[in-house]
Subunit: 214 residues, 2 copies
DNA sequence: TAGATTGTTAATCGATTAACAATC
DNA sequence: TAGATTGTTAATCGATTAACAATC
């Protein structure tokens, strides 16, 4: 296998390749060249070839890439050729949104359990999944061999939830709390800092106003 | 003003500086040096000084930076020293989560209106804001001088919603639909591709498994 | 075979880090 | 003044782009 370190820049582009290849598939398009894909996706043809060749030789000289095959390969590269046992901690609007989304699209992230600290919510069901007490999180994660924990609690509780998930043995954490969590290097951590994203938008609005005159 | 183009890398770090400076403020810490901040935030001291000097001279040789002042300056740089009239389109779980969040934290993004295409939801209220028909979006945005539109609809409707927002004259769009929207260059666009983020997590889990042995 | 397009090496560009003079 | 730390230039590093030989 490729054990050399893949740069973060490439990791961020991979899901985007996947997205466009999925789109091409639905259009019934069978082959595509790096320059055609460049036109569509907005990366240079050179970069596309470089990126893909990080993982293998998927094309054919003089022809291009088979869309179906490349889509399948990128799914495999991304680790989307398997299922992940997932729990969601914090069943507010955001936790529910995530739960609904993964449930509805059946995308390989199976929500096995929901957790919350609020007694009013514990015992309720969302999409047939019961809400359990967060006090039992670590035990549940260990017993059920959970792969991924999705943290949708507030900033104050986020690190202790992460600690429970790590202690229970998760492989990855998808964090929505506005804090930079500490986890061991062997645990994958992906944080979505929504307020950071909104603040970046604010900055860009200001920049455009200056550029184009307010 | 600084009209030179600020790199995307810096834009992404700015909200993070803000976050840590806010934290320092709550701790009552008055001054900080670039090396202390480096320890805390994880960027090199050199990078911190470079980043800040893109926007001005906020420190004092031999001393460091005043936390209160630097926090205020970064807020100003980010354009957070004003309010933004905001609308949310698509009042599902995610739209409600965004609405609640901005309502609860009173962070300068005032949700003036909610929009949806579903007649069952139109007319309902969330946090005292009424849900209107998306057919009236463009007119409302124009009449009310809305700054920002938050797109929480599905992929299929997202581009037409974006078109209405642009036609109505928004300054920025915060997009949560899994599609790369086309907007004029003068409109700021920030997309949060949740599924891309989840797929990146999947990739990292796989990489760590290979690195540490499965 | 000729044309097209990949895979891959080399060149360029931009971002990060190091170094240090300026200065509080 | 001496010590500390910034602001800023120079060096390094890594990522992107260009070029082209390989080859289908």
């Amino acid at each position: 296998m490729h054990h050399h370190k893949v740069s973060n820049a490439i990791i961020r582009r991979l899901p985007r390749y996947r997205r466009y290849l999925g789109y091409l598939q639905t259009k019934g398009i069978k082959k595509i060249s790096s320059s055609e894909l460049s036109e569509l996706i907005g990366y240079t043809a050179s970069q596309i070839r470089q990126d893909l060749n990080t993982f293998g030789e998927f094309g054919q000289q003089g022809y291009g890439y088979e869309v179906d095959n490349l889509y399948k390969e990128i799914n495999r590269i991304l680790g989307l050729d398997r299922e992940y046992k997932t729990v969601v901690i914090g069943v507010g609007n955001l936790g529910q949104a995530i739960t609904n989304y993964t449930y509805y699209y059946k995308i390989g992230f199976n929500i096995m359990g929901l957790f919350d600290a609020n007694p009013d919510i514990i015992g309720k069901k969302f999409n047939d999944v019961e809400v359990m007490d967060v006090a039992n999180l670590e035990e549940y994660v260990r017993n059920e061999n959970i792969d991924i924990g999705v943290i949708c609690v507030n900033r104050e509780s986020a690190q202790s939830v992460a600690d429970s998930l790590v202690a229970g043995g998760v492989k990855g954490i998808w964090n929505f709390a506005p804090i930079d969590l500490e986890v061991p290097d062997k645990v994958a951590l992906e944080s979505v800092h929504l307020s950071d994203s909104l603040h970046a938008l604010s900055f860009m609005i200001k920049s455009k106003a200056e550029e184009y005159g307010e």
